[in-house]
């Protein structure tokens, strides 16, 4: 029976890719293990192998096609004795629903296809009016930020696992080795505790290290050096020396990678005096904030998100674009409820605001952008206007950023509140692997909408 060959998912978060090249042509005999095609994701180019033997009957997606969705049929394989004429009927008989992945993609649409806000997000713009803009992914913006700062200051260097020759496990450092060489773009062994300590020492010694953690889950191995050595030395030395450096990498849940690889550490790091904590949502913020982080004379935790890496935003075309720490961004003005979020939480916040608008509820959406320092004033001013607040984050509920904000709002704007503040967070469970349970464990747009309706008594 002719079988469809489907566009493969080559990483946990891949939703589509480019069919770069067919290495077999129609009519070719194929053995299991033969390379059929090269597929390009936003992270890498992968070879795609045949699983069964047969004949490549028909190529459905021409090479060079971009944006091929995972699980779309890309070719038809024939078994012995079949001919290309059998293809149409056989292919048609295969229900698309048989493949589970499109469902998973649908489930994640809340994350990946959050509508761009309709209102002008630059209520307090980070760049001059009329600035030329270009569309960039968060991934590209992060790379550009590092490259620009490395050109500017030769003491800035990047170290981490697979950052150099592999071009970054998530391709953030793509091209940096070529431009800056192996003195400044350094592959480390898998040894987080050790290389973090070395980077702290290098910062004491006058360099400006950027430490990439392949994911922040692995930074747990290096927690002592981050907290005890990097964050506290300036204080312990009476101001004589500190650790000007950046710790960056993806933080939070990716997709289907289980409990040890899915965790949002925002609130942990935000608890530590001596650290600065940055968690961008948009590409412009990723770029502007990372440049500020690299220049900052303090240790900065820079929390990225794997799912946001491939998302595109408008980024200003400026010679030297930076975003200051401690300044929240109002993405959407509103009058009925304030939604405060940061990082990937913004996708839920913005989507909820969009849907709430359809029901006549006007939500103001604030992106904190940095958690240390934290822009309380913008949050409080908004709450004084809307009299209601919902916080949104993916992290665990106990000791969350939302908990902290609730306390601050209660202390400083109690009389303005018309309803208790609600914290929408991830659930109080380790991240499960099963797709349906994972979805349940994360905060959802529906929960945000429900919370907003509750505080507005609708």
């Amino acid at each position: 029976m002719a079988t469809e060959i489907l566009m493969p998912a080559l990483s946990p978060t891949m939703e589509e890719g480019t069919l770069a090249k067919w290495l077999k042509k129609e009519g070719d005999k194929v053995s299991a293990g033969d390379i059929l095609a090269e597929i390009e994701t936003d992270k890498a180019t992968m070879e795609f192998e045949a699983v069964d033997e047969g004949t490549l009957g028909k190529i459905l997606v021409a090479e060079g096609t971009e944006g091929v969705k995972v699980n779309d049929p890309i070719a038809i394989m024939l078994e012995e004795g079949e001919s290309a004429d059998d293809i149409d009927t056989d292919a048609g008989s295969k229900p698309a629903a048989e493949a589970p992945a499109p469902k998973a993609a649908e489930a994640k649409s809340a994350v990946n296809e959050a509508p761009e806000p309709e209102l002008n997000p630059n209520l307090d713009p980070d760049w001059p009016e009329g600035t030329e803009m270009k569309t960039q992914t968060v991934r590209e913006a992060l790379r550009d930020a590092m490259a620009e700062e490395m050109r500017k200051d030769e003491n800035v260097y990047l170290m981490g696992e697979e950052v150099a020759e592999y071009q970054g496990a998530y391709k953030i450092s793509q091209g940096l080795l070529d431009e800056f060489g192996d003195k400044r773009v350094i592959d480390t062994p898998i040894t987080e505790h050790g290389f973090t300590g070395i980077a702290v020492g290098a910062a004491f010694g006058g360099l400006r290290p950027i430490v990439e953690f392949m994911t922040f889950n692995f930074a747990m191995q290096a927690m002592d050096q981050i907290i005890n050595s990097a964050a506290k030395t300036l204080y312990m030395s009476g101001g004589q020396m500190g650790a000007p450096m950046v710790f960056r990498g993806p933080n939070g849940a990716a997709a289907r990678v289980g409990a040890q690889h899915s965790q949002d550490f925002s609130a942990w790091f935000a608890a530590i005096p001596g650290l600065k904590v940055v968690i961008p949502y948009s590409a412009a913020d990723a770029k502007g904030l990372l440049k500020s982080a690299i220049r900052d004379p303090n240790p900065v935790i820079f929390l990225e998100n794997e799912i946001l890496y491939g998302k595109s935003f408008e980024v200003p075309v400026l010679d030297d674009f930076t975003v200051p720490f401690g300044k929240a961004k109002i993405w959407r003005e509103g009058s009925d409820v304030t939604i405060v979020s940061f990082g990937i939480g913004m996708t839920y916040a913005l989507e909820a605001a969009e849907k709430l608008a359809e029901d006549g509820i006007s939500a103001e959406v604030i992106d904190l952008r940095t958690l240390r320092p934290i822009d309380y004033d913008t949050v409080l001013a908004s709450v004084q206007k809307t009299n209601r607040c919902v916080t949104v984050e993916e992290g665990f509920p106990v000791g969350s950023i939302g908990n902290h904000l609730s306390a601050v709002i209660m202390e400083r704007a109690f009389d303005y509140l018309d309803a208790p503040v609600i914290n929408c967070t991830g659930k109080d469970v380790p991240m499960p692997y099963a797709a349906n349970l994972e979805k349940l464990a994360l905060v959802t747009t529906d929960e945000v909408i429900e919370a907003c309706k509750k505080v507005t008594y609708r």
């Binding site: 300590g197 070395i198 020492g201 005890n228 009476g238």
Partner: protein, 341 residues
């Protein structure tokens, strides 16, 4: 360690050493000892709080290695750090005032015994978490290599820290990247109350470096000349771009792990025997006298001089005021330079 090991190839210990050198070692080691004795006293009087780890007995290690260093070389160590600070030329007043938690201390009273630093003297702490200073030391060496100078870093740690995983992570990268760092294992034979024999089957700690391709050797840490000679060899190795080197310096601390350690894990006799037979200061004193480099009176004059330096430090540490209350809120963040918009 019953018999004293020779300090190398020279037939007679001290034969190749000048009078001035010997006098300097004597003075530097004596300063550490008297300073630590005074610190112990002030602790007993309640003027020093918290943890206080004295270096008494180990003086030859840091004094010998400092003799092999040049300006620009860096050092980083654990919480048993007073000796290292004095040996690299930090002001005893500033160190003692930090112990008493006063404004005149190296960290304005905010660091304490375990956390002092001096940019000027290239002393990078003072680290309270056992072993953490080892990758930091490799990182300091990384910075020097990156900048292309010929400085080396001395990363000191104890036999206890030698069992921390990050030490070996640092070894691996230091050799991989040929970092100019000397890993100095100050093996004083007890990690708090656990003897080396009770914590590892590999009695020779320096030999673990072989697994990473790092050369090293054992050194008699009660003989300042032997330490200096080994230090010079290690420094030459590092400065020549050959990567790291390990020195396992066999030494002994006379006092407890910290002030609150009753030291029930070893006998009084063991300590007494060390003091009587192997004391590093007494060793140099003998060399000075037998070599006719100094008379008893000369040495008495030095003792007196040191005593007054230590007393001044103690006085300063008592008189220096406590830090202003506003200091609670300073030095948490370094100021961000204004961005040129």
């Amino acid at each position: 360690m019953a018999a004293r090991k020779s300090s190398g190839t020279s037939a007679k210990p001290g034969a190749n050493v000048s009078k001035d050198e010997l006098l300097n070692y004597y003075r530097d080691m004596l300063l550490i000892r008297r300073f630590e004795e005074k610190a112990g006293q002030l602790y007993g009087m309640g003027l020093i709080g918290g943890f206080c780890h004295l270096y008494i007995g180990q003086e030859a290690v840091v004094v010998g290695l400092e003799a092999a260093a040049k300006e620009g070389d860096k050092r980083v160590t654990s919480y048993r750090d007073h000796g290292h600070m004095l040996a690299c030329g930090m002001d005893p007043k500033g160190v003692m005032a930090e112990l008493t938690g006063r404004e005149g201390g190296y960290s304005k009273g905010k660091g304490g015994s375990m956390h002092m630093f001096s940019k000027e003297k290239h002393f990078y702490g003072g680290h309270g978490i056992v072993g953490a200073q080892v990758p930091i030391g490799a990182g300091l060496a990384f910075a020097d290599k990156y900048k292309g100078n010929d400085n080396v870093t001395f990363a000191y740690f104890g036999d206890g820290a030698a069992n921390q995983g990050q030490v070996y992570e640092a070894y691996n990268m230091a050799e991989l990247w040929s970092l100019p760092v000397i890993f100095v294992i100050e093996n004083n034979q007890y990690a708090m109350g656990t003897s080396v024999a009770r914590s590892t089957k590999s009695a020779s700690l320096w030999k673990r470096g072989a697994a990473y391709g790092i050369e090293g050797e054992e050194v008699d840490g009660m003989d300042v000349l032997a330490v200096k000679e080994a230090g010079e060899k290690a420094v030459a190795h590092c400065r020549a771009g050959n990567g790291p080197y390990i020195l396992e310096v066999k030494t002994y601390r006379y006092r407890g792990h910290s002030m609150s350690d009753p030291a029930k894990y070893r006998t009084r006799d063991e300590v007494q025997k060390m003091r009587e037979e192997r004391d590093a200061i007494e060793h140099v004193r003998q060399l000075l006298i037998t070599g006719e480099h100094a008379s008893e009176d000369d040495l008495k004059a030095i003792d007196k001089d040191i005593k007054s330096v230590v007393n001044e430090a103690a006085e300063f540490s008592k008189e220096s005021p406590e830090p202003a209350l506003e200091e609670l809120w300073t030095d948490i963040y370094a100021k961000v330079a204004p961005q040129n918009a």
